[in-house]
């Protein structure tokens, strides 16, 4: 039974081991084979998560907990991995000579993220976070040009600082309460002391770093811009899901006091405002998406700071919607970049996409509209339930501000769509879609619409997951 609780992680570890052995075997495998193998592996991981969906229990002396909530997030992370692997089939993204390392770190990052979503102990959490972070630092550095090196070093330094802050906070909290487990933290008599609260805030900073929310957002634009597109997609989707997972789990145990809600409210406010304003000025599409993700992190915080089961459930729902719609955009960015033979497409490179490939343009349009929260798409339903949870707790100003921000965001999302639909293309050359890309795009399109129109199933799943995790 125990091994079943740890099944997806075990499979991932086996995959890492397999790829390391392949590296040792010195037998040159073509990147194509490696990608296919990785795709198969990611699929098996996803299936194993779904299989283990209903198992729940504790592992490793109560520091690790698998329940519906963690499995839901693991399913998202696994899906993020699978989609990222599917996007990886371009030499532009992954230099052929580095394909092995690329997949090893991709798997280890996934392993770390899955462990994050199951951690109920500060030390386990720290180990998991470092595992995923260091893998991501390396993944962003794989392209090896100057720009890339600079941004990955920036990412590393800021990330290390984040970890340091986390450790500082954790040492305060653990020192005052005498326990590292989440459940123990709230019951500890020290939980009202200012130093304890300060520790909590420091710990939260590390989570905000992963979520790319203000004030820990500085790394996002550079990293998004310079990393290979599939890696950016991975950071923007799976890593975000892991961040939401740990925030949900942590806030659930610590509870959201009025002061904490106020603090998170300030961060949400800054994230939304800053992300959306800065995105208005961007020309580089990946940089634009980075600022958009900062803004989106703000919306998620608005739901989280409600501190109610509805708030947590809607954050989970929104993380799922966000994964789908963001991957939709990144799929298009990836294919445009591939046709362009340059991994940093600017807004102008999307000109006339509708003529070059109507299907891609449609996917882009709907994903962007969904990000902007236009019905009947997944992003709209997600925002609706996020904000109604926050409104329920009386955060009307934040909700109003968030909604107004969504309107602002529509401007830059529509600008990108306008380039795709209205500008004349500089080249008439059509973008040919391979079979898998076509079906991937179609699948994303359908799920964005389906999640928007028929959300009930997923909302009740999310609510069940949250209520299951609430019982200590």
């Amino acid at each position: 039974m125990d091994i079943l609780l740890f099944l997806p992680e075990t499979i991932l570890s086996a995959l890492i081991f397999l790829y390391l052995c392949l590296a040792l075997a010195k037998k040159e495998l073509s990147p194509k084979t490696l990608t296919r193998l990785a795709g198969l592996g990611a699929f098996v991981v996803l299936v194993s998560v779904v299989y283990s969906m209903n198992f729940s229990g504790q592992l490793f002396h109560g520091t690790y907990r698998s329940d519906l909530l963690s499995q839901c997030f693991k399913a998202l992370i696994g899906l993020g991995l699978l989609l990222t692997v599917l996007l990886s089939g371009s030499p532009l993204a992954v230099p052929g000579s580095r394909a092995l390392e690329y997949f090893v770190f991709l798997f280890s990052a996934t392993l770390g993220m899955m462990m994050i979503s199951s951690s109920v102990d500060l030390l386990t959490l720290f180990v998991s976070m470092e595992l995923s972070s260091y893998s991501l630092y390396l993944l962003t550095a794989l392209r090896l040009d100057r720009r890339n090196a600079e941004s990955s070093v920036k990412y590393l330094i800021l990330g290390a600082a984040g970890s340091g802050v986390f450790l500082w906070g954790a040492s305060l909290v653990i020192g005052l309460s005498g326990t590292a487990s989440f459940a123990g933290l709230i019951q500890s008599p020290a939980s009202a002391q200012p130093a304890f609260l300060l520790g909590l805030v420091f710990i939260l900073f590390a989570f905000l770093f992963k979520l790319s929310a203000a004030p820990m957002h500085f790394w996002a634009p550079d990293v998004y811009e310079s990393a290979a597109t599939p890696v950016t997609n991975f950071i923007a989707t799976a890593s975000k899901a892991a961040a939401v997972a740990i925030l949900v789990r942590f806030l659930m145990s610590s509870g959201v006091s009025a002061a904490l809600a106020g603090l998170l409210g300030v961060f949400a406010f800054i994230s939304m405002t800053l992300g959306n304003t800065a995105a208005l000025l961007q020309k580089d599409v990946k940089r634009l998406l980075a600022y958009s993700s900062i803004a989106q992190a703000g919306y998620i915080l608005v739901g989280l700071l409600a501190g109610t089961p509805e708030g947590y459930a809607s954050s989970l729902f929104y993380a799922a919607a966000y994964l789908l719609m963001n991957t939709g955009v990144f799929l298009v960015v990836h294919l445009v970049a591939k046709a362009l033979k340059h991994d940093n497409p600017q807004l102008a490179h999307f000109d006339g996409l509708a003529e070059r490939s109507p299907k891609l343009a449609l996917l882009l349009l709907l994903s962007l509209l969904s990000l902007a929260g236009i019905p009947p798409l997944a992003g709209f339903t997600g925002k609706w339930i996020l904000f109604s949870a926050a409104m329920d707790q009386g955060h009307w100003f934040l909700v109003l501000w968030a909604v107004l921000n969504s309107v602002v965001s529509l401007f830059y999302y529509l600008t990108l769509a306008k380039h795709a639909y209205l500008e004349k293309p500089s080249t008439k050359e059509p973008i040919v879609l391979t079979g898998p890309m076509k079906s991937l795009g179609f699948g994303l399109l359908l799920s964005i619409i389906a999640l928007g129109i028929f959300p009930d199933l997923f909302i009740s799943l999310a609510q069940k997951a949250v209520s299951g995790a609430l019982i200590p």
Binding site: W384, M391, G394, V403, D456
Partner: protein, 485 residues
Amino acid sequence: MSFPLLTCILLAPVTGLVLILLTPGRQETLIKWIALAAAAVTLVLSIWLCLKFDPANTGFQFVERLDWVKSYGIHYSNAVDGLNVWMILLTSIVIFCGILVSWTVTFRVKDFFANMLFLVSGVFGVFMTTNLFFFFLFYEIAVIPMYLLIVIWGSTNKQYAAMKLTLYLLLGSALMFAGFLYIYSLPGSHTFDLIQIKQNVSFTAEAQNVLFLGLFLGFGVLAACFPFHVWSPDGHVAAPTAASMLHAGVLMKLGAYGILRVGVYLLPEGARHWAHLVAWLSLCNIVYGALVATQQKDLKYIIGYSSVSHMGIVLLGIATLTPVGFNGAVFQMFSHGLMTALFFACVGHIYDGCHTRQLSDLGGLSKQAPVISAFFIIAGLCGLGLPGMGSFVAELLVTIAALSVYPVIGIVSLTALLVTAYYVLTAVQKTFYGPVSEKASHLRDIGLFQFIPRAILVGCLIYFGIFPQVFIHLISVSTKGLLGA
């Protein structure tokens, strides 16, 4: 559940949309016929709805209800009363005529008709739903295709106008969104169902005042309430003919309908509190719209500003908070919808033939194209409130109500009607009489096929102008019930 007539009205354009998307883009004629068939089905069903509507029933009729997201109190629920039954009919008339008028579209035909049907599905949805979630959902569905319609098929500064329109409307919807969620969060609520909210939630005076103001501003943007009207003339001018028809004819009514259905229905005290503000703003609409219209050189801008002015009459009717005023407001929504649709249908044809809408370039069109000129002049006469036309009765009702509640505003708005007469007659005189201008000499008159949609609109205008009782009969029960009397 009985036969889901309302859902069928909604599904007809949706089905048409799906069929069009499945049809290859080359088969333009087939696509047009599919769109027309979908519109015809909605038209027949809407007429049937009006005929089967029971005017003695004070509550909602044709109620349909399906749980959607139970935990959030979101139901797919539709119902009609005297207010929206007419709005649904108006929408189906305008879309039917709009599709006939757009038979001349040749650029990206498939996308055009798909967008039209998508837009109209949203409009139908807003008019029939009784759940705030779906209200908002359908509202936004109606806005986004409008952006595409203007930006792809539009004219005159279209990118600017389209972005302006979209951002304005979504800004309005942001206020709605926040307002709806606020209603949801009130004690005893936790549902988005309009009828349940009305029954279960007791709003405090403060909540009523804040909410009504927020919702009024939100809806007011779409209803082109002064000072949020600036998007509307630009949008009208830039939009292609059929989109202008739908936009001025139906879309702006969504805002006024929202004020009545959500604002006044749920928050009667809030409405009373702000009624003076609404009345003064509506007066600004009426006077300012009419004055600006006198200064315009472009035929479409004249109609655009006249719409601003006429929407002021709707808002004034609402602001009186009397059954008579409401009747007048809804009647004005209905007849103004038909009238502007007719206006834009005529201007669209003139623009296609002359490639200009500047008054100075036009002249003597009545010699060149007597039929289209006659239609335009009829619309113009309706616009200045000629007895025997729908608008006359509507404006009469609103003015009567306004004079009794706000005598000063009533009198000033009456004088504004003179300004309306001035700009309408000037435009008619410059465009249709005098020597035939050089550009106008290319204009051909409309054929029989293009005669039909305009004739339908004129027919309806005159029918309801002569038999206003048909209209008043169905709505008076519901407008009396609005204030909870």
